[in-house]
Amino acid sequence: MGRNINVNVEYLTRVEGHGNIVVNVRESQLEECRLDIVEAPRFFEGMLRNRSIFEAQHITSRICGICSCGHTLASIQAAEDAIGFTPSPQTQKLRRLLMHLETLDSHLLHIYLLVAPDLLGVKSFVPLINTHNDVVRRALRMKKTCNDICEVLVGRHVHPISSIVGGFTKLPSEKELDKMLGMLRSLEVDMKPTIDLAATFVFPEFERDTEFVALVSDTDEYPFLEGDIGTTDGPPIPKDAYKSVTNEFIVSHSSAKHCKNKRGSYMVGALARFNLNYDKLVPNAKDIASAIGLHPVSKNPYLNTAAQLIECIHCIEDSIRIIEDCKEEGVDQSEAILVGLNETGCIPVQAGHGVGAVEVPRGILFHAYDVSEEGKIITANCVIPTGQNLANIELDMKKLVPEILDRTDEEITLSLEMLVRAYDPCISCSAHFLNVEFKNR
């Protein structure tokens, strides 16, 4: 007689937002395998209608606390693209720094507080306070350091204040550059034991061939804020044509829309970026990738966490480079601007359509706005990385479950939870997320 399994995880923990995993196996045949997104929808795209393009950044950063800098930067890029504004080289440099800080903050949170407990066999970081006190302290310290640097640069990390359409309302002084540099150096020191710890992690073995999608560019930069939409399945696509890649569709079990391109699904995030842009990582990051056995093109989604670690190394080094560059060239304080609702008309506005494409921690994020002559939003569209990954996660689950049918319910549940967590889903963003539901065996 075949096996019956019913997994029903309600409100998956240690992910951002609310989601459920539902798996139903009857007579050893997989009947149902879903990731339900049960986050209460918040209708941001609808709420943005008729608001000033100069408010879009402030509002959309509230889509997600963890990714608020990423939403800020995607929103600004779309708005500036729509009204035909070109940011200064200094602004672009500091925006790259801001994006690095968010990537670091988010990846460190995921590696230490969300994933490590599974790999160390506990339910959360709390018991680790007793068993691995130095690890927990280091994790909280590194996370706080990322925040403290953001505080200097943009006022705070959660919902940044000074990064707006047109540039920055406040620019770092020389003293502040030194302060940020000092903190980045301390992160660099803490990164060494982080790498040592990560090297001890044993990730589950699982592979599935899929399409990887991430920004690609023809510069030397590992692209976070510029370039076209790259894929492992064909030539790059201009960001304006993002809809031809995302092809969003609605499924009834998820308040987050699903996406697919050439195949049934595609994957975005650290692993996709690593697979497409490996050559542009700093040499040290490449060396450590080799040392921990991560090579492009990696098809094991559990290794997304390993790719995040590699990106941390890259982001710290590149951040230090940006600040040293700022120190050498000096920061032009006269570029600081106050825009508000553009009451003074300091930013010229024209009607238009604009697209922002930014690599945020969980993958490529699109914001697209149609803007009226008066600078009001006519329509808005945001395509979220977690939403883009949902179809891919479900296809992974469908391949994984039959491969591990010989295990106990608890082991199957844990494998599925770890799989979903590896994607570092952000359900607030995608509507919000995660909970595994085993139905009867």
Partner: protein, 247 residues
């Protein structure tokens, strides 16, 4: 003495306020020495229905949310609402200026019926709230202050003077002087004029003071030739939920 059991819950929100808690750094370990966190879904797998203090983030926007918050209220001895979404409805309230069918269709098209939604309400529009930590996001020093009061069982009074008071103490140049409108004059302080200190304007995330100086504010707008419509629309970004009726 046994530790006070504390549970964190979230409704419709961005979870940025819980993230602020994680951003305390090593101070968090000291706090964990004084309280026992029994549920905090974003960072813990444990769940519990036995807690003394419930710390609630997010707004009430669906029938399911409503059931959950009622249950939480019936268990918790003390309920703390934290973050604008919970205390005043926050940005979720912007939804209330549209018909619910219209806004659902604008995002989900013909499939909108899969996602029933109700006008956004703050927590105290649904159940009684004992303590408030306003802000989008919360200002961490204030959270620590409120927690201290709540654990000691004494009331916390939210500052009820305008953001301008703190802004003046911080010696910022008034942004009206620079030709740009700001909600500081009518918004509840307590944030240490966080946004203006960083070169931006106040967006009203902590809600309005109980007795705003309407006429003086009108004079300010007239003086700087800024239309009332601009400011009213701006107020709606965080303060629209307060008009919501029982769904």
């Amino acid at each position: 003495m046994s530790k006070v059991k504390v549970a964190f819950f979230d409704f419709a929100c961005c979870e940025g306020c819980q993230l602020q808690v994680a951003n305390m750094g090593e101070l968090l370990i000291d706090i964990l020495d004084k309280i026992e966190i029994v549920e905090f879904r974003e960072v813990m797998s444990e769940k519990s229905e036995d807690y003394d203090v419930a710390i609630v983030e997010g707004s009430i926007t669906t029938p399911h949310c409503l059931e959950r918050i009622m249950k939480i209220r019936s268990i918790a001895k003390v309920l703390i609402a934290y973050g604008s979404c919970a205390t005043i409805g926050g940005v979720n309230g912007m939804k209330n200026q549209f018909e619910m069918d219209d806004i659902a269709r604008s995002v989900y098209g013909d499939d909108a019926h899969f996602f029933p939604t109700r006008p956004t309400r703050a927590i105290d529009q649904v159940v009684p709230v004992d303590y408030y930590v306003h802000g989008c996001p919360i200002y961490l020093p204030e959270l620590v202050k409120v927690l201290t009061h709540a654990l000691a069982g004494i009331p916390y009074r939210v500052p009820d003077s305008a953001v301008c008071v703190e802004c003046k103490l911080n010696e910022n140049v008034c942004v009206y002087e620079r030709g740009v409108s700001c909600l500081g004059p009518v918004t509840r302080g307590g944030c240490n004029s966080w946004c203006i200190n960083n070169g931006n304007v106040c967006y009203g995330c902590r809600g309005m003071v109980t007795n705003p100086a309407d006429n003086a504010q009108r004079d300010v707008l007239t003086k700087y030739d800024i239309s009332l419509d601009w400011v009213e629309n701006k107020m709606m970004m965080y303060n629209k939920a307060k008009d919501a009726k029982e769904a």
